[in-house]
Symmetry: C2
Subunit: 99 residues, 2 copies
DNA sequence: TGGTTATTTGGCTATACTGCCAACAATATG
DNA sequence: CATATTGTTGGCAGTATAGCCAAATAACCA
Protein backbone atom coordinates (compact mmCIF):
# COMPACT_ATOMS: atom_id res chain seq x y z
CA UNK A 1 0.00 0.00 0.00
CA UNK A 2 1.08 3.54 -0.75
CA UNK A 3 3.63 4.81 1.75
CA UNK A 4 2.74 2.50 4.57
CA UNK A 5 4.94 4.08 7.24
CA UNK A 6 3.33 7.46 6.85
CA UNK A 7 -0.13 6.01 7.30
CA UNK A 8 1.05 4.12 10.36
CA UNK A 9 2.35 7.28 11.97
CA UNK A 10 -0.79 9.21 11.17
CA UNK A 11 -2.91 6.40 12.50
CA UNK A 12 -0.90 6.40 15.70
CA UNK A 13 -1.78 10.05 16.24
CA UNK A 14 -5.47 9.48 15.68
CA UNK A 15 -5.58 6.32 17.74
CA UNK A 16 -3.98 8.25 20.57
CA UNK A 17 -7.00 10.54 20.49
CA UNK A 18 -9.38 7.61 20.32
CA UNK A 19 -10.07 7.15 24.00
CA UNK A 20 -12.56 9.05 26.16
CA UNK A 21 -10.09 9.87 28.93
CA UNK A 22 -7.40 10.97 26.55
CA UNK A 23 -9.86 13.12 24.64
CA UNK A 24 -10.98 14.77 27.85
CA UNK A 25 -7.39 15.42 28.81
CA UNK A 26 -6.50 16.89 25.43
CA UNK A 27 -9.53 19.11 25.58
CA UNK A 28 -8.47 20.31 29.01
CA UNK A 29 -4.97 20.99 27.69
CA UNK A 30 -6.41 23.32 25.07
CA UNK A 31 -6.77 25.79 27.93
CA UNK A 32 -3.14 25.46 28.86
CA UNK A 33 -0.62 23.38 30.77
CA UNK A 34 -1.85 20.96 33.43
CA UNK A 35 -0.03 18.76 35.86
CA UNK A 36 -0.74 15.04 36.00
CA UNK A 37 -2.56 15.61 39.25
CA UNK A 38 -5.01 18.02 37.55
CA UNK A 39 -5.69 15.49 34.84
CA UNK A 40 -6.03 12.77 37.43
CA UNK A 41 -8.74 14.83 39.12
CA UNK A 42 -10.38 15.35 35.76
CA UNK A 43 -10.71 11.78 34.58
CA UNK A 44 -10.92 10.01 37.91
CA UNK A 45 -9.08 6.81 37.09
CA UNK A 46 -5.99 5.55 38.84
CA UNK A 47 -2.96 7.80 38.68
CA UNK A 48 -0.96 5.07 36.97
CA UNK A 49 -3.63 4.78 34.32
CA UNK A 50 -3.57 8.52 33.72
CA UNK A 51 0.19 8.42 33.44
CA UNK A 52 0.00 5.70 30.83
CA UNK A 53 -2.59 7.61 28.84
CA UNK A 54 -0.28 10.60 28.87
CA UNK A 55 2.58 8.54 27.58
CA UNK A 56 0.39 7.39 24.71
CA UNK A 57 -0.25 11.04 23.86
CA UNK A 58 3.44 11.84 24.21
CA UNK A 59 4.55 8.98 22.00
CA UNK A 60 2.09 10.14 19.37
CA UNK A 61 3.71 13.57 19.46
CA UNK A 62 0.61 15.33 20.71
CA UNK A 63 1.90 16.53 24.07
CA UNK A 64 5.13 17.48 25.71
CA UNK A 65 6.04 17.47 29.37
CA UNK A 66 8.13 19.50 31.71
CA UNK A 67 9.05 18.76 35.29
CA UNK A 68 8.88 21.45 37.93
CA UNK A 69 9.60 20.32 41.43
CA UNK A 70 7.55 17.28 42.19
CA UNK A 71 5.01 17.97 39.51
CA UNK A 72 5.08 17.14 35.82
CA UNK A 73 3.25 19.54 33.55
CA UNK A 74 1.89 18.49 30.19
CA UNK A 75 1.08 20.79 27.32
CA UNK A 76 -0.33 20.37 23.84
CA UNK A 77 2.27 20.60 21.13
CA UNK A 78 -0.23 21.27 18.35
CA UNK A 79 -3.11 23.72 18.66
CA UNK A 80 -4.83 22.53 15.50
CA UNK A 81 -6.39 19.57 17.27
CA UNK A 82 -8.94 22.04 18.57
CA UNK A 83 -10.57 21.80 15.16
CA UNK A 84 -10.92 18.06 15.55
CA UNK A 85 -13.52 18.53 18.21
CA UNK A 86 -15.69 20.70 15.99
CA UNK A 87 -15.45 18.29 13.10
CA UNK A 88 -16.07 15.22 15.22
CA UNK A 89 -19.14 16.85 16.67
CA UNK A 90 -20.27 17.56 13.15
CA UNK A 91 -20.03 13.84 12.43
CA UNK A 92 -22.05 13.05 15.52
CA UNK A 93 -24.57 15.77 14.82
CA UNK A 94 -25.75 13.93 11.72
CA UNK A 95 -26.74 10.85 13.68
CA UNK A 96 -24.02 8.31 13.90
CA UNK A 97 -25.31 5.91 11.28
CA UNK A 98 -24.86 2.99 13.65
CA UNK A 99 -26.41 -0.21 12.30
CA UNK B 1 -16.10 12.09 34.40
CA UNK B 2 -17.78 14.95 32.62
CA UNK B 3 -20.33 13.73 30.09
CA UNK B 4 -18.90 10.30 29.57
CA UNK B 5 -21.16 9.25 26.69
CA UNK B 6 -20.16 12.20 24.55
CA UNK B 7 -16.50 11.44 25.00
CA UNK B 8 -17.13 7.81 24.14
CA UNK B 9 -18.82 8.74 20.89
CA UNK B 10 -16.12 11.19 19.94
CA UNK B 11 -13.46 8.64 20.76
CA UNK B 12 -15.23 6.14 18.55
CA UNK B 13 -14.94 8.51 15.61
CA UNK B 14 -11.24 9.11 16.16
CA UNK B 15 -10.46 5.47 16.81
CA UNK B 16 -12.19 4.66 13.54
CA UNK B 17 -9.61 6.86 11.82
CA UNK B 18 -6.79 5.29 13.80
CA UNK B 19 -5.80 2.57 11.38
CA UNK B 20 -3.52 2.84 8.36
CA UNK B 21 -5.89 1.13 5.93
CA UNK B 22 -8.89 3.10 7.10
CA UNK B 23 -6.95 6.34 6.84
CA UNK B 24 -5.91 5.50 3.30
CA UNK B 25 -9.51 4.69 2.41
CA UNK B 26 -10.84 7.89 3.92
CA UNK B 27 -8.21 9.89 2.09
CA UNK B 28 -9.25 8.21 -1.16
CA UNK B 29 -12.88 9.01 -0.42
CA UNK B 30 -12.03 12.70 -0.21
CA UNK B 31 -11.89 12.57 -3.99
CA UNK B 32 -15.36 11.09 -4.20
CA UNK B 33 -17.35 7.87 -4.01
CA UNK B 34 -15.55 4.57 -4.37
CA UNK B 35 -16.82 1.01 -4.51
CA UNK B 36 -15.50 -1.62 -2.12
CA UNK B 37 -13.57 -3.12 -5.01
CA UNK B 38 -11.68 0.16 -5.57
CA UNK B 39 -10.78 0.34 -1.92
CA UNK B 40 -9.80 -3.30 -1.96
CA UNK B 41 -7.38 -2.55 -4.78
CA UNK B 42 -6.08 0.41 -2.81
CA UNK B 43 -5.25 -1.27 0.47
CA UNK B 44 -4.51 -4.75 -0.77
CA UNK B 45 -5.84 -6.77 2.14
CA UNK B 46 -8.55 -9.40 1.92
CA UNK B 47 -11.94 -8.17 0.74
CA UNK B 48 -13.53 -9.29 3.99
CA UNK B 49 -11.02 -7.23 5.91
CA UNK B 50 -11.77 -4.19 3.80
CA UNK B 51 -15.46 -4.70 4.33
CA UNK B 52 -14.98 -4.82 8.08
CA UNK B 53 -12.89 -1.68 8.03
CA UNK B 54 -15.66 0.03 6.14
CA UNK B 55 -18.21 -1.03 8.69
CA UNK B 56 -16.04 0.49 11.41
CA UNK B 57 -16.11 3.76 9.49
CA UNK B 58 -19.84 3.47 8.93
CA UNK B 59 -20.58 2.76 12.59
CA UNK B 60 -18.55 5.80 13.53
CA UNK B 61 -20.71 7.89 11.23
CA UNK B 62 -17.88 8.81 8.90
CA UNK B 63 -19.14 7.17 5.73
CA UNK B 64 -22.36 6.16 4.07
CA UNK B 65 -23.01 3.50 1.49
CA UNK B 66 -25.24 2.96 -1.47
CA UNK B 67 -25.78 -0.17 -3.50
CA UNK B 68 -25.88 -0.07 -7.26
CA UNK B 69 -26.12 -3.37 -9.03
CA UNK B 70 -23.49 -5.67 -7.63
CA UNK B 71 -21.37 -2.89 -6.32
CA UNK B 72 -21.56 -0.97 -3.06
CA UNK B 73 -20.33 2.59 -3.15
CA UNK B 74 -19.04 4.36 -0.07
CA UNK B 75 -18.81 8.09 0.38
CA UNK B 76 -17.60 10.42 3.12
CA UNK B 77 -20.37 12.00 5.11
CA UNK B 78 -18.22 14.77 6.50
CA UNK B 79 -15.77 16.77 4.41
CA UNK B 80 -14.10 18.41 7.40
CA UNK B 81 -11.96 15.35 8.04
CA UNK B 82 -9.75 16.63 5.24
CA UNK B 83 -8.36 19.06 7.77
CA UNK B 84 -7.37 16.19 10.03
CA UNK B 85 -4.69 15.15 7.60
CA UNK B 86 -3.08 18.58 7.58
CA UNK B 87 -3.11 18.79 11.34
CA UNK B 88 -1.84 15.28 11.86
CA UNK B 89 1.01 15.95 9.48
CA UNK B 90 1.76 19.06 11.48
CA UNK B 91 2.10 16.87 14.56
CA UNK B 92 4.43 14.53 12.71
CA UNK B 93 6.40 17.37 11.20
CA UNK B 94 7.66 18.39 14.62
CA UNK B 95 9.28 15.03 15.26
CA UNK B 96 7.06 12.60 17.03
CA UNK B 97 8.56 12.91 20.51
CA UNK B 98 8.80 9.13 20.77
CA UNK B 99 10.80 8.04 23.82
C1' DT C 1 18.88 10.59 56.99
C1' DG C 2 13.93 9.42 56.91
C1' DG C 3 9.49 10.54 55.41
C1' DT C 4 6.15 12.48 52.19
C1' DT C 5 4.29 13.68 47.69
C1' DA C 6 3.99 13.22 42.55
C1' DT C 7 4.69 10.37 38.91
C1' DT C 8 6.35 6.34 36.30
C1' DT C 9 7.09 1.45 35.48
C1' DG C 10 6.30 -3.63 35.70
C1' DG C 11 3.23 -7.08 35.74
C1' DC C 12 -1.05 -9.15 35.43
C1' DT C 13 -5.87 -10.14 33.71
C1' DA C 14 -9.65 -8.82 31.00
C1' DT C 15 -11.22 -7.00 26.93
C1' DA C 16 -11.00 -5.27 22.18
C1' DC C 17 -9.07 -5.23 17.54
C1' DT C 18 -6.95 -7.31 13.30
C1' DG C 19 -6.89 -10.20 9.50
C1' DC C 20 -7.52 -14.39 7.46
C1' DC C 21 -10.65 -18.22 5.79
C1' DA C 22 -14.98 -20.20 4.86
C1' DA C 23 -19.74 -19.67 4.34
C1' DC C 24 -23.56 -16.89 3.08
C1' DA C 25 -26.48 -13.22 0.55
C1' DA C 26 -27.65 -10.53 -3.34
C1' DT C 27 -27.53 -9.34 -7.98
C1' DA C 28 -26.41 -10.04 -12.71
C1' DT C 29 -25.96 -12.96 -16.85
C1' DG C 30 -25.95 -17.11 -19.95
C1' DC D 1 -32.00 -22.43 -13.41
C1' DA D 2 -26.76 -22.48 -13.02
C1' DT D 3 -22.98 -19.75 -12.42
C1' DA D 4 -20.05 -15.77 -11.69
C1' DT D 5 -19.30 -11.42 -9.28
C1' DT D 6 -19.40 -8.26 -5.31
C1' DG D 7 -19.86 -7.78 -0.51
C1' DT D 8 -20.98 -9.14 4.15
C1' DT D 9 -20.91 -12.17 8.21
C1' DG D 10 -19.20 -15.75 11.55
C1' DG D 11 -15.52 -17.63 13.65
C1' DC D 12 -11.00 -18.21 15.10
C1' DA D 13 -5.95 -17.16 16.51
C1' DG D 14 -2.81 -13.65 17.33
C1' DT D 15 -1.86 -9.17 18.97
C1' DA D 16 -2.67 -4.90 21.22
C1' DT D 17 -4.98 -1.99 24.75
C1' DA D 18 -7.01 -0.82 29.30
C1' DG D 19 -6.88 -0.50 34.03
C1' DC D 20 -5.67 -1.95 38.39
C1' DC D 21 -2.09 -2.91 42.08
C1' DA D 22 2.44 -2.92 43.85
C1' DA D 23 7.00 -1.41 43.50
C1' DA D 24 10.34 1.92 41.95
C1' DT D 25 11.96 6.78 41.11
C1' DA D 26 12.49 11.61 41.93
C1' DA D 27 12.21 15.81 44.35
C1' DC D 28 11.14 18.01 48.35
C1' DC D 29 11.14 18.79 53.54
C1' DA D 30 12.13 18.00 58.54
Amino acid sequence: MLNDLNYKRRAQVLRALGHPSRLAMVEALLQGEKCVCDLHDLVGSDMSTVSKHLSVLRNAGLVDDRKEGLKVYYRLRVPCVAKFFECVDEVLGMGSGQR
